[in-house]
Amino acid sequence: MNPRILAATTGRILRQLRHDRRTVALLLIVPAVLLALVYYMFVDQPTPPGRPSTFDRIALVMLGFFPFIIMFLVTSIAMLRERTTGTLERLLTTPLGKLDLLFGYGIAFGLAGVVQATVASAVAYWLFDLDTAGSSGLVILVAAVNAVLAVALGLFCSAFARTEFQAVQFMPVVVAPQLLLCGLFVPRDEMAGWLQAVSDALPLSYAVEALQEVGAHAEPTGTMWRDLAIVGGAAVLALVLAAATLRRRSG
């Protein structure tokens, strides 16, 4: 890796995003609208004594979902475009290293995920009175690591898609099982043993657990840090796999 090339690549990806104002607007506004929906769905529901309100429970996890879903999609399409428009082949004939490109995407869309999570958290805390025992900064930190994981998975999956149609099909394949089994709908320890084992193997489960730790404890817990490390480790693993799918020579 070369710091100058990495910085240039990160800047280039962010510049592309900046020129696409509609995407930026969607990135920032859609989470707030969805949070509003959830808020009004549950605002009149009674809260069992001694438990967080349904909105608090769901909104907290949603703050981690947004960057995960959106950054996965944005990245797989962006990388597919690099492949189909020939820019990837061209880049691979320049001094750019594979990791410069992959980490460039990780940093650029990771930053976009942080901005998205920050705006969504601001809306959740100030507009809809989200209540967490831990700090909002930790929520954004977990969301940021989640965004990087999504970017890494998107980079990896884009290698298996030839068209945009195929690329978007990876969303339900990669994202939906993780959403279903992450513990939001059914607590993980109440799932059947084999489902729990699947859930244990999916990185999003740890991101959700980390968020729940922030929700329940005023100070960052050991479990939270461990979960965060697992999500980060999964992101690095996916990036390494993505690098392995990038071939300078093709047929």
């Binding site: 100058r4 240039a8 592309q16 820019t87 082949e89 061209r90 691979l92 093709s250 047929g251």
Partner: protein
């Protein structure tokens, strides 16, 4: 002096089909070598082999004294793909500056490359809003910006207006005079006359490797299109005789 590119018995298969059938060719340094041939003849595949992004079946390609695709060559070789490969959601200038940065060049070099392809007036326009010809010039600027020793340009002048085409060829010759080696492909025979040397390729086989004048002398006609036609017929007759015997 050693040749810039030496191709030895290069065989390439793509999609289960043989695209290059044992090409032997050399490209001298500091000159403009034209790679001429109809669409589908294997020009792009040969160029991809030279820049080291093509999986080859057998044979060797040596570029600037190193095997094609060697990491150090990536700083010394510039490649223009046939379809413009620039970012449509960036401006011309942003594209040029990005590729400049990859080669360790600054903004001034990028702006000069944009001016060299006649796009100064459109520098702040998004590439997606440009015409096809302007887009391929934006792509060309990104290949020129690193000032590489060897430029591999796949159909750089397609769709350009005749005045601009003449200007681009003048620039290619100026660069060659300054020591740059250029390998330029085209399927337009009238561009052959502008090259110092010609490689004529048809159906994955090299038919001619000579100067334009030598091609004219050998075939006895002045028009290069006609000359190539005669060479193709002669080579086909030769192949037919071989098959008959």
């Amino acid at each position: 002096m050693e040749d810039a590119i030496a191709v030895r018995d290069l065989v390439v298969d793509r999609g289960g089909r043989r695209v290059l059938h044992g090409i032997d060719a050399t490209v001298p340094r500091g000159a403009v070598t034209g790679l001429l041939g109809p669409s589908g003849s294997g020009k792009t595949t040969l160029m991809r082999a030279v820049v080291g992004v093509q999986v080859v079946t057998s044979g060797s390609v040596t570029v600037l004294g190193r095997p094609a695709g060697a990491p150090e060559l990536r700083r010394r070789v510039g490649y223009l793909t046939q379809a413009p490969s620039v970012y449509v959601d960036l401006t011309v200038r942003e594209n040029a500056r990005y590729f400049a940065a990859l080669h360790g060049r600054g903004a001034a070099d990028a702006d000069r490359a944009v001016a060299d392809v006649g796009l100064s007036g459109a520098a702040t326009q998004l590439v997606g809003t440009l015409s096809g010809g302007q887009r391929s010039r934006a792509s060309l600027a990104c290949a020129l910006v690193g000032e590489p020793e060897l430029l591999v340009l796949d159909e750089p002048t397609v769709g350009q207006d005749p005045v601009l085409r003449a200007e681009l060829w003048a620039r290619f010759h100026a660069m060659a005079a300054a020591g740059t080696t250029l390998l330029v492909s085209s399927h337009v025979m009238d561009e052959a006359a502008r090259c110092d040397r010609l490689l004529l390729i048809r159906e994955g086989r090299l038919i001619a490797d000579d100067t334009p004048d030598a091609v004219r002398r050998a075939t006895g006609v002045d028009d290069l299109e006609e000359a190539f036609l005669r060479m193709i017929r002669a080579s086909e007759a030769g192949t037919a005789r071989q098959e008959a015997s």
